[in-house]
């Protein structure tokens, strides 16, 4: 009698969704044997049956008599199950939604690569008081199989032409050097990003020598340790280089080299999780926003938009969760252009601020790994040829990584990450063999392709809020040097979000508005 009331009381009637979705199991009733019970509790038309065994002919009343002589065993089983229902047990009458993001979050970061995680880290580090801001990171590719971060060659340099880039890179190197102080998590092993401080060697032909000298002056002013070398000095230092066609070389002595981007990503991920940032595996499919017609100081009418909700669609499902948010950070890397379009950026007549799209698109780049037993030794820096071909040492076994950026005409189709091996034969190997004669005999071991979040406007990053969609912040478009500037850019965006202006490094020339006003911040040293 008592059990009957219990069963009726706990029936599924007032509860919306079938209890079958909860871990695929049933709560009261035999689960072992007979093929297992994995059904849902549907069929609301059957009034008397609130739970089903494998044999639907059985009535509720006969449950206790199932398995005849096994009465004590049944009793203890039922006792155990009742205990799991009571508070403190592991039965939940509501369905398990741990895969869905929360219903609201102060900041939603679209993209969980190194830039997105860096923004999350600095937001949690600089917030006052501690724990004030709820951050959600939405990443649709939880294995990072197509993320630019992990497919990158991992280099970091200060040899840029734009002073802000040099500052960003110097800050990031400082961050990497003290990574175990920044990203320390109690009881976890310290991070080893395997930094190779071997430096970058940029070679310039006659045409580029003057520009290189200028650049080195700018870099030295910002504090980079770069020295200029003549072809004679180059031959003395690196006898394996063929200096034909090289007029000048700039060599970074300190703070330059390459490291393991996966380690940085995992370190950031571990740390931000320990700081309370939530992760969601899903894709942003829609922004729900509202518009306000406002007047500027000069009387012009502007339509300002504000995003209220982010719809996050769950992988391999039609289900989505609307997340209420105050701020959206677009750190989606190569796909930032698509995310910006979802927010309505670029919907307007061309030539106006409304009609200015985010000019970040996917560009595919190849990286090749080859073996050359007679190749340059341990001292090999990251060498960049005047033709745009680059290579670096990988490990101790005379293996080298390298590649070349294709010209605009020969841009490969970014639809997939297939590698074109002919590209190596035609475009990468000849300049390599000309520059380093030992590379005439080499054997390609493997290759992969990755995406650049290529800024077609001026190949430099976009940082800061959008002038019209006032709560969308960008941290993208770095065209191949995003990884090396990620810690500094994360801090800049966090400062922008929390304080409203840049504090450590002034990145006002990297704002979105330059796409409308046409002020290019052209970075010349892009590989």
């Amino acid at each position: 009698m008592l059990r009957r009331t219990l069963l009726l009381g706990l029936c599924r009637g007032p509860l919306g969704r079938g209890l079958g979705t909860h871990r695929g199991g049933s709560i009261l009733g035999k689960v072992e044997g007979r093929g297992g019970y994995r059904g849902s509790w549907m069929a609301p038309s059957s009034s008397s049956v609130t739970f089903r065994t494998q044999d639907p002919a059985h009535d509720v009343k006969t449950v206790g008599r199932l398995g005849g002589g096994d009465r004590d065993g049944k009793m203890s089983e039922i006792k155990k199950k009742i205990q799991s229902i009571l508070p403190g047990g592991d039965w939940n009458p509501l369905y398990d939604t741990s895969y869905l993001p929360p219903e609201g979050s102060d900041v939603v970061i679209v993209g969980g690569g190194v830039l997105g995680l860096s923004v999350a880290y600095w937001l949690k580090k600089l917030e006052k008081p501690r724990g004030a801001i709820r951050v959600l990171v939405v990443e649709r590719d939880h294995t990072y199989s197509r993320a630019s971060t992990v497919l990158s060659v991992g280099g970091i340099r200060q040899q840029f032409s734009v002073p802000e880039n040099v500052q960003l890179s110097l800050f990031s190197v400082d961050f990497l050097r003290n990574i175990n102080e920044y990203l320390a998590v109690a009881d976890d092993p310290p991070l080893d990003i395997q930094f190779n401080p071997s430096g970058y060697l940029l070679l310039a032909s006659e045409k580029g020598a003057a520009i290189m000298e200028n650049n080195v002056k700018v870099q030295r002013q910002e504090g980079a340790k770069v020295c200029l070398m003549s072809p004679e000095q180059l031959r003395n230092k690196f006898p394996w280089i063929n200096t034909e066609g090289v007029a000048l070389a700039s060599y970074g002595m300190e703070h330059e080299g390459w490291f393991d981007p996966w380690c940085l990503l995992q370190g950031l991920r571990r740390k931000v999780q320990s700081m309370g940032v939530l992760f969601c595996r899903g894709e942003v499919t829609r922004f729900v926003s509202s518009s306000n017609l406002m007047k500027t100081a000069s009387g012009e009418e502007v339509n300002l938009k504000r995003i209220h909700e982010v719809h996050v669609k769950i992988d391999q499902s039609l289900e989505y969760q609307p997340v209420e948010c105050a701020i959206v950070v677009n750190a989606a890397g190569a796909w930032s252009g698509q995310v910006a379009e979802l927010a309505g950026i670029g919907n307007g007549p061309p030539g106006t601020l409304q009609g200015t799209k985010l000019p970040v698109e996917l560009r595919k780049r190849y990286v090749y790994l080859w073996h050359c037993p007679q190749g340059p030794g341990l001292e090999t820096p990251f060498v960049i040829d005047p033709s745009g071909t680059y290579f670096r040492r990988e490990g101790l076994g005379h293996n080298y990584l390298g590649g070349c950026s294709p010209t605009e005409e020969e841009e490969p189709d970014p639809g997939n990450l297939e590698v074109d091996h002919d590209f190596f034969q035609d475009r990468v190997w000849p300049p390599l063999a000309q520059r380093v004669p030992a590379f005439e005999t080499l054997k390609v071991r493997s290759a992969w392709a990755g995406y650049y979040d290529y800024n077609t406007f001026d190949q430099n990053g976009v940082v800061g809020p959008h002038p019209l969609v006032i709560n969308m912040y960008f941290a993208t478009g770095f065209s191949g040097h995003g990884l090396q500037q990620a810690p500094a850019v994360g801090r800049a965006v966090a400062e922008m979000v929390l304080e409203g202006h840049f504090q450590t490094i002034n990145l006002s020339s990297f704002l979105f508005s330059r796409f409308y006003s046409g002020e290019k911040v052209q970075e010349h040293n892009i590989i």
Partner: protein, 257 residues
């Protein structure tokens, strides 16, 4: 956050009575026996209470700042007596030894005290520095790099000297002839790659570096990189795997294909 974490305990817990230095950070390879010794009371409490966790974080940060404090630059001494005396004072304060040109070694005694006679030697360059076992780190190298005529630098068993520090040594390239890195737990082959700037180097000791993955191969590559330098390191055959004909036959196992 308060739930106990099943993490990889590759390093000994931070707060263990008698841990030297920053326990978790200075020991890259910790013996397995340490974790079995039982987790300390503080660690046990830290897994359950936020306040205790904050206390542990605070203690860890204090240990880090102690190392930073030891490596602070002595700017007032530098201004008054010059870079050589400032560098010597820095090293002596850390517990190392210094030798000025044409003089004897100056060492602190058992209790860390040393005579201040060298303060008069403002124009005499420092020729040799023995910083073995000192807690010198990246910032502390500032004081050393000002010693432009340094010929011999011993950094044996320094717990905080890592690859980043090695990349900083290039200003001493014209004078440095002897460098010893034996026993430094954080130096790996990646840092050794940037020693090629030191073209005047005649003696290099890279023995007993636990963080180097293949010591024999690394020694060969370093010898190739610095042709006029005598490299003391691991035996070149160390770390090589036995070939199939040299492997002991296991009669009890399955026959090889």
């Amino acid at each position: 956050m308060a739930a106990p974490k099943a993490s990889l305990h590759l390093v000994a817990p931070v707060w263990n009575g008698g841990t030297r230095g920053i326990g978790g950070l200075s020991r890259v390879v910790a013996p397995e026996g340490n974790q079995k010794k039982g987790r300390s009371l503080l660690q046990f409490l830290a897994d359950r209470f936020y306040d205790v966790e904050a206390l542990r974080d605070h203690l860890l940060r204090k240990q880090v700042s102690k190392v930073h404090q030891k490596n602070r630059p002595f700017n007032h001494i530098n201004q008054r007596y010059g870079p050589y005396v400032a560098g010597a004072y820095f090293i002596l304060k850390q517990g190392g030894a210094v030798r000025f040109q044409g003089r004897e070694w100056i060492r602190p005694n058992q209790r860390g005290h040393f005579s201040l006679d060298f303060l008069k030697l403002q124009a005499v360059p420092v020729e040799a520095v023995d910083a073995s076992g000192c807690a010198i780190n990246y910032q502390g190298l500032d004081s050393l790099l000002a010693l432009k005529e340094l010929q011999s630098l011993w950094l044996q068993r320094c717990p905080h000297v890592d690859d980043w520090c090695l990349s900083r040594l290039h200003p001493l390239a014209s004078s440095l002839q002897e460098l010893s890195l034996a026993g430094c737990p954080r130096v790996s082959e990646r840092g050794l790659a940037c020693l090629h700037h030191l073209w005047n180097l005649r003696r290099l000791d890279i023995s007993d570096l636990p963080a180097v993955s293949s010591p024999g191969l690394t020694r060969i590559l370093v010898e190739e990189m610095l042709p006029s330098c005598e490299v003391l390191g691991a035996d070149w055959a160390q770390g090589l795997k036995l070939g199939p004909e040299e492997q002991p036959r296991d009669t009890a196992g399955p026959t090889p294909a």
